[in-house]
């Protein structure tokens, strides 16, 4: 695969030269330059009919400088040398205006210079090369298949594809051109009981992936046929399922649900910029503060968490980050203890972590936004010879087996969370029983991970994720993947959401 020619044919090197030489001439200590084209497509169907199809392409360029120890950033859209140079001037001007409120000089971790490189993510069929008729038709057929089943009143279908092309250059001599492709598809079936007015939904649990259209045309990576066959029956059972009895349960959590709990309670909590307070007024801080590195008991000894931006098909995966740092993999939690953070060049230097080196977590979602420390693929490792999901369930006397993510919320220090799911099955004496509905699990992060008795083996490992992780001001979204095995948790609080609503 090669980078989109409409991107590589832009005068990227000339623009970089114009911007960087002006920044150097103005006396900037550091300057970097980006051009990005982010193309995205959304297809939405309602009951098999086209609801909305939109295709957008965001292209721009920006210059970031460190001038007199202060950041300055300016972004524009016109791809000509005059604009590139003018942005360098504006970035320096922004640094000057900001200087009175800056009391901490910006110093970046020194990093090796990689020169010229091209990197392209791993996919087979670029979704933007597939005619819209084919993509729409595919989801229409799937929608009709669900609508034809008993008890399905409505079906929502959604498909999203993104192609991200980036060019990065800096005063140090990096000239990096990269392209990533990602896709996501979901169908939600709705059942309505007209007499009572009750309704329930059931959504496919296929994850968003760093793959192309091939993800949707085969059953090798995700078994779409099995999922679509099962969905109507699961929905009918949910509509008539008993409401869960609130109380303490043991939980076996499927990777399709656990990825989001990992994202919220570990991924965000181990972002060093949050721990340092950079997000304190907005996304929040973290209970996992720097003084606890190496000592905090994050969870039970079976808990091992890695960060990486290199795993194939990962949504956070890329060759080089938005500060020109080569991506890598590292430990975040080892045998239950906090051992690492996610870093960018400034905060790595500031705190001397990782030998004063970044681990490659800078990301900007467009040329118009400044890179900030964003989440790597943060994943729970399976046990090498670990149990199957069935074996985990067999260890539970009274519990729930929870599948698929749905509602989520966590506090600003990442302690208290509440999650629901697509469906939950009652476990009695080691056996799966029918579904229960109206469930939510609520816990405190370290209690929850401390209650993790066992993780499943590699055969249970699935990579989930999101296109829409939000952080920063102005707000930015980032794509990120989270791998997880099935896992067993003891004694977790289950709420009944109907009782919570006071009904």
């Amino acid at each position: 695969m090669t980078v989109d020619e409409s991107f590589t044919s832009l005068p990227l090197g000339d623009l970089a030269e114009a911007a960087l030489s002006r920044a150097r001439a103005l006396g900037a200590e550091h300057a970097d330059f980006r051009v990005e084209t982010v193309r995205s497509q959304n297809i939405n169907l309602r009951d098999g009919h086209v609801d909305g199809v939109s295709d957008s392409s965001d292209r721009g360029l920006s210059v970031r400088v460190v001038y007199d120890g202060t950041w300055g950033f300016a972004a524009g859209v016109a791809l000509d040398a005059r604009t590139a140079a003018a942005l360098a001037e504006q970035a320096v001007e922004v640094a000057k205006v900001s200087k009175p409120v800056n009391s901490e000089p910006v110093v970046l971790a020194p990093e090796p210079v990689h020169g010229e490189h091209v990197w392209v993510s791993s996919y087979e069929v670029n979704p933007f090369d597939v005619p819209d008729t084919e993509k729409i038709g595919h989801f229409q057929r799937w929608s009709e298949r669900l609508l034809a089943a008993d008890g399905v009143a409505h079906v929502d279908a959604g498909f999203q594809a993104v192609q991200e092309c980036k060019y990065f250059a800096d005063l140090a001599g990096n000239r990096l051109t990269q392209q990533r492709i990602r896709t996501e598809g979901a169908l939600t079936a709705v059942a309505v009981d007209e007499d009572s007015g009750a309704f329930e939904t059931m959504r496919t649990v296929a994850p968003p992936v760093g793959r192309g259209w091939e993800f949707f045309t085969g059953n090798e990576v995700f078994d779409w046929d099995a999922e679509l066959d099962a969905l109507p029956g699961l929905l009918r059972d949910k509509l008539t399922a008993p409401s869960v009895q609130a109380g303490e349960y043991d939980l076996v959590i499927d990777p399709s649900n656990l990825w989001l709990t990992i994202h919220e309670s570990i991924g965000h909590a181990t972002e060093l910029d949050r721990a340092l307070g950079y997000e304190a007024a907005y996304a929040g801080t973290s209970f996992a503060t720097l003084d606890k590195l190496g000592t905090l008991k994050y969870g039970s000894p079976v808990m091992n968490i890695t960060g990486d931006r290199v795993s194939e098909h990962g949504l956070g995966t890329v060759g080089f980050d938005d500060e020109g740092v080569q991506t890598q993999a590292w430990d975040i939690v080892k045998d239950g203890t906090l051992v690492g953070y996610q870093l960018d060049r400034r905060i790595a230097q500031l705190k001397g972590l990782n030998g004063g080196r970044s681990n490659g977590c800078a990301f900007a979602d467009s040329a118009a936004h400044v890179p900030i420390q964003r989440m790597a693929n943060v994943s729970l490792r399976p046990a090498p010879d670990g149990p199957s999901t069935k074996e985990l369930i067999s260890r539970v006397r009274r519990g729930l087996y929870i599948i698929g993510d749905k509602s989520w919320s966590i506090d600003m220090q990442r302690y208290n969370f509440q999650f629901t799911g697509q469906r939950a099955f009652l476990i009695e004496d080691g056996e799966l029983k029918g579904q229960v509905k109206d469930f939510a699990y609520q816990a405190t992060t370290t209690d929850f991970w401390g209650a993790m008795e066992a993780v499943g083996g590699p055969q249970t490992y699935v990579v989930g994720g999101s296109f829409q992780c939000g952080k920063g001001q102005p707000g930015q979204v980032a794509p990120v993947s989270h791998g997880a095995p099935a896992a067993l948790f003891r004694g977790i609080r289950i709420l009944n959401t109907v009782q919570e609503a006071g009904q």
């Binding site: 922004v94 929040g284 209970f287």
Partner: protein
């Protein structure tokens, strides 16, 4: 700041090039300036300029034929030489798309008087008096041993909307806000304020800093309370969080389809039903594009069709709309087509929201409402609000940056944070007392929905589901 071609020229050129049966062209020219700080120092900043061109093409019948299909393609960095490629891409998307359920005639032509005006712009100089004042506030915080965090943003977005049916509409929208968070040096105490502004001339950051310093004083005495239902004074920002979510959930089509909190058992919608229950407070929730201080786009702007809007409605004039009138559900979000299907008036989405709840239109301020609280909680803000159950519109979220215990009208200390589970619709039937409506900034949704005016509300039994150790 360099922009691409003139927006009006792009609109005319794209319409001229169009071979579709009908077309709408939207050009959004936006400039933005921002400052962000943490630990009493700047963290990031920037200025940006962008121009997005969106072409909506209708094929197979612009006159509302059932066969009409629509294609929507948007791009930034488009100039007069590259706009044809965009127009053709939009037409191709229409050809490849199936018939659109919301197909309708394009809105008949009319023009804004200021169509020929250039885009309004902002730049970093919007902070020229704010930044030094912020520096002063940092100095005051340092002197007190406290830390300031926050963000200031100003944007100017000018939209040009043209159509083959003769629309030529322009709207310039300023949007701005400051969020300030103060923490004690050990970070065990935290307070927050958000201030919406159109141009920063009305922001007194020094005064905001002083208010937060007072709240940090309140927090010196810590009181542990368990989960439970508490009499709670919700400040306007939190009422905005909850009402905005209810508004976003109010699509007529979802209600008709039996899948919303506004659906009626046995079919149909709750339009005309009272949501106020036995509460003596009969609130009115409304939008008005001309509301003073909350002015917003006075016509429909839709970049995609969904449950509550249609690209075919682009340019449709918006007027004042009462969503809930004196406690009764009066209107839901419609397109022309969903309205016709349900024989309801056409009431599309408007980008501002106002709740009037105090009888007679006047009511106590937040301070007065707190002053008349015998025993209850005063919240600063809510955070991380997510839907738990669409049937009841049960939402969960956290309290943040100050839950204060009020006894005999006085704040006596700070309570731990809680996770709440509540439905904004259910709350409407449990309002014990309402304050006066004032301009406010939703902490949770202010980035997407800036223009709200809300009262403080006293809820006798707000559901604090569990304790959050976060501070």
């Amino acid at each position: 700041m360099t922009l691409s071609s003139k927006p009006q020229d792009l609109v005319e050129k794209a319409l001229e090039l169009s071979r579709a049966d009908g077309a709408v062209v939207l050009v959004d020219a936006a400039t933005d300036a921002n400052l962000r700080w943490a630990n009493n120092t700047l963290t990031t900043n920037g200025v940006s300029a962008g121009q997005q061109v969106t072409v909506i093409s209708v094929k197979n019948g612009a006159t509302g034929a059932a066969s009409a299909a629509v294609g929507v393609v948007g791009r930034s960095g488009v100039d007069l030489s590259s706009v044809e490629d965009l127009v053709r891409a939009s037409e191709k998307a229409a050809e490849e798309s199936g018939p659109a359920d919301d197909a309708d005639q394009l809105v008949p032509g009319r023009a804004s008087a200021d169509w020929d005006e250039p885009p309004a712009q902002t730049d970093i100089s919007v902070f020229s008096s704010f930044a030094p004042a912020l520096g002063e506030t940092f100095a005051a915080a340092r002197a007190e041993g406290s830390l300031l965090f926050g963000y200031a943003e100003h944007s100017m977005s000018t939209q040009y909307l043209g159509s083959t049916s003769g629309l030529r509409l322009r709207h310039a929208q300023p949007t701005g806000s400051v969020q300030l968070n103060a923490k004690s040096g050990d970070r065990s105490r935290s307070a927050w304020a958000g201030v919406p502004t159109a141009d920063f001339s009305d922001v007194d950051v020094v005064a905001v800093g002083q208010d937060l310093a007072r709240r940090l004083e309140w927090a010196k005495r810590k009181i542990d309370l368990p989960a439970g239902r508490y009499e709670t004074v919700l400040p306007p920002t939190s009422v905005a969080d909850l009402m905005i979510y209810a508004y976003w959930s109010a699509a007529l089509r979802d209600a008709v389809d039996g899948r919303s909190v506004f659906s009626k058992s046995g079919g149909g919608t709750k339009l005309g039903e009272s949501l106020a229950g036995s509460s003596a407070i009969k609130a009115t929730l409304r939008s008005d594009p001309t509301a003073a201080g909350l002015e917003c786009t006075p016509y429909v702007e839709a970049y995609s069709s969904n449950a509550y809007q249609s690209v075919f409605d682009n340019g449709l004039a918006l007027g004042p709309t009462e969503w809930i009138k004196d406690g009764e559900l009066a209107a839901l979000l419609t397109t022309r087509q969903t309205a016709a299907g349900a024989q309801a008036p056409v009431t599309p989405f408007v980008d501002n929201l106002i709740l009037d709840a105090a009888p007679g239109g006047t009511g106590p301020s937040l301070t007065e409402l707190t002053g008349s609280t015998r025993d209850g909680l005063l919240l600063t803000s809510l955070w991380y609000i997510r839907e738990v159950d669409p049937q009841t519109l049960l939402l969960t979220g956290l309290t943040r940056d100050g839950v204060y215990k009020v006894e005999g009208g006085e704040v006596v200390g700070e309570v731990n944070n809680f996770r709440f589970n509540e439905s904004p619709v259910a709350l409407l039937s449990r309002i014990a007392e309402a304050g006066r409506t004032e301009r406010t900034f939703s902490r949770e949704w202010g980035d997407y929905f800036n223009r709200t005016a809300m009262p403080a509300l006293r809820i006798p039994d707000f559901n604090m589901s569990s304790v959050s150790p976060a501070s």
